[in-house]
């Protein structure tokens, strides 16, 4: 086990603990009485007091945190106030949609930005390079929901190629599933492309100036092979980092896009939980998403070492 990975795992455990404290406090410190909220109209002072005792709301915060953490570790994230459904199961049932959305978005964004980034680095300073810079800044300036609305307007309302909203699950029909998720994926991916493209371009520009590229060219290797194989691999570290970090940004984008297109994912659930004051669900999602996000960052560190084994020894990126 290398030093870099060990430190990553130690940091992982520490961050997890801190994240759980923040997730707990974020909702525990909300003013308003959960017991009162649950009982609503049937609230009498005695029943409120009894429920508060049952939920542990009358105990001091540190004890409540430990009780909550104990439950969470056993997979009990609490129950919805209105629905009574276990929170964890609700989140898990919404998860596949969000994962499909984010994975397809990353794939589309990479498919669009890798050739673009390599090409503008290869032809840097050209009109094409300058054009991609301006287009990148323009795309960065469009809110994802505006892009999504524009797509709904053209492709769903005007041309009627795609359904405007609604979701068909993969198990029902693969084609209809892809149709229902095409616009959300495109709206999210187009906003990510400039970030990836500029990142790859700037690293690629440095790589292309190195001796081994000149050597490969001298050996007569075809240009596409030098660009897409020899030079791409050492240039991809920054891209990997950004793809990892962007998972969090995408989660944010997913919240908006899922709500717009009525996709039954975790993001839509989060917004619903705020509207309906289902704060245990909010808390569960915050904790769950942060946890997933930390895992992804850890995975990014592991991929780093796989791509560049020297990092395992140096311990520094």
């Amino acid at each position: 086990m290398s030093g870099r990975l060990l430190r990553a795992f130690a940091g992982f455990a520490g961050t997890l603990f801190a994240v759980s404290v923040v997730s707990f406090l974020l909702i525990a410190l909300l003013p308003g009485d959960l017991a009162l909220l649950i009982l609503a109209d049937s609230a009498t002072p005695e029943r409120v007091a009894a429920l508060r005792a049952e939920l542990g709301l009358d105990r001091p915060l540190p004890i409540r945190y430990l009780m909550w953490l104990g439950n969470v570790l056993q997979g009990d994230f609490g129950r919805g106030i209105h629905s009574g459904e276990p929170t964890l199961q609700v989140i898990l049932s919404r998860l596949p949609v969000t994962i499909e959305l984010i994975v397809l978005t990353q794939i589309l964004a990479l498919v669009l930005s890798i050739p673009g980034g390599i090409w503008s680095a290869y032809r840097r300073g050209s009109a094409l390079d300058h054009g991609t810079l301006v287009a990148s800044i323009a795309l960065l300036s469009v809110p994802p929901f505006v892009l999504a609305l524009a797509m709904i307007y053209f492709f769903a309302l005007q041309l009627q190629w795609l359904p405007a909203t609604g979701f068909v699950s993969l198990s029902e029909s693969v084609v209809e599933n892809l149709e229902s998720i095409a616009m959300p994926v495109a709206a999210l991916a187009l906003v990510e492309v400039p970030v990836y493209l500029r990142m790859l371009r700037s690293e690629m520009v440095t790589t292309l100036q190195q001796n081994f590229v000149a050597l490969a060219r001298g050996m007569g290797l075809p240009t596409w092979r030098i660009l897409f194989v020899n030079a791409f691999k050492p240039s991809s570290l920054g891209l990997i980092t950004v793809v990892g970090i962007n998972m969090g940004r995408l989660m944010g984008g997913a919240i908006i896009v899922e709500t717009m297109f009525a996709l039954p994912g975790v993001g839509q659930l989060l917004v619903e939980s705020i509207y309906q004051q289902e704060y245990q669900v909010t808390q569960g999602i915050v904790l769950f998403v942060a946890f997933a996000f930390i895992l992804i960052n850890l995975a990014t560190d592991v991929v780093y070492v796989l791509v560049d084994p020297r990092l395992a020894r140096d311990g520094e990126a």
């Binding site: 308003g32 800044i137 809110p143 505006v146 371009r201 969090g248 917004v271 909010t282």
Partner: protein
């Protein structure tokens, strides 16, 4: 270096225009953004009504101008908060090093572990003034990146001769931070701040669109689009003209921020 590109100058002009219109909105000779008028329902853009009317017959241009007041307040408020707190934390971490730095950076990294919008939405659940909540929530999620930039800058500066000289001359900590380090960090922090303004404006629009921002009747660009999206086919102007104005503003902010950062860094091309 000294020649300012055309796009940069146009962007500055547009930003000045938007800022003036938003600040002066109540005194400008434009329609009342809240006045409903059924005969004008979904009226198309035309003379005297540049952006047309929405589904309640309200003037979309006036609502857009007034909506920018919220955009402006949220972007400047949250970025200012982040610059002050993040800047202070970063300088202190980079200057004192040791356990101070470890404590600050650990806290910052914990904050970074949450996807920003998820954290903001959870914070917006708190009761209180909506405008203030959005400003504070966005300010908090911006703090980590400012802290990192300020710390990195301080580490770089602290190794330079003038800091060593000032220390040898017996300069105290407070004076050193305030008089020597802070002024040298301001340019890079401000350049980053401009780019953050753009991110804040985007985030505010997203929150308002979700109905988690400043509530009606106050017009915001996001809530205007959310309210009119179901009638986009009959009246695209009510949805897309405010969006266009928002896009141009954020585009201008990004162009200016990019240009300033290039000047501060003294090197171009980096994403």
């Amino acid at each position: 270096m000294s020649r300012a590109p055309l796009g940069y100058r146009l962007s500055l002009a547009w930003l000045a225009l938007v800022a003036f219109a938003a600040l002066a909105a109540p005194w400008l000779p434009i329609a009342d953004p809240l006045r409903q008028s059924l005969p004008d329902m979904l009226a198309a853009p035309g003379a005297g009504r540049w952006f047309g009317a929405d589904s309640l017959g309200r003037d979309v241009f006036a609502r857009t101008v007034h909506g920018f007041r919220v955009t402006l307040a949220v972007s400047f408020g949250s970025v200012l908060l982040a610059l002050v707190f993040g800047g202070a934390l970063g300088i202190v971490a980079g200057y004192f090093r040791g356990w101070v730095e470890r404590t600050i950076m650990t806290a910052v990294n914990v904050l970074l572990a949450f996807p920003p919008l998820v954290l903001v939405i959870a914070m917006v659940a708190y009761p209180g003034n909506a405008l203030l909540k959005v400003i504070v929530a966005l300010g908090i999620v911006f703090v980590p990146s400012v802290t990192r930039i300020a710390r990195a800058g301080t580490l770089r500066l602290a190794a330079l001769d003038f800091v060593t000289a000032a220390r040898a001359a017996g300069m105290g900590h407070a004076r050193m931070l305030w008089r020597e380090l802070l002024p040298n960090l301001v340019p890079s922090l401000l350049a980053f701040g401009l780019l953050m303004l753009a991110v804040a404006a985007l985030a505010e629009a997203g929150l308002s669109f979700l109905g988690l921002g400043v509530p009606p009747p106050t017009p915001t660009i996001g809530s205007m689009m959310a309210g009119e999206q179901s009638r986009a086919l009959d009246a695209p102007h009510a949805v897309f003209l405010p969006a266009l104005a928002l896009f141009l503003t954020i585009f201008a902010l990004n162009l200016v921020g990019e240009e300033l950062r290039r000047r501060v860094d003294g090197r171009g091309g980096q994403a």
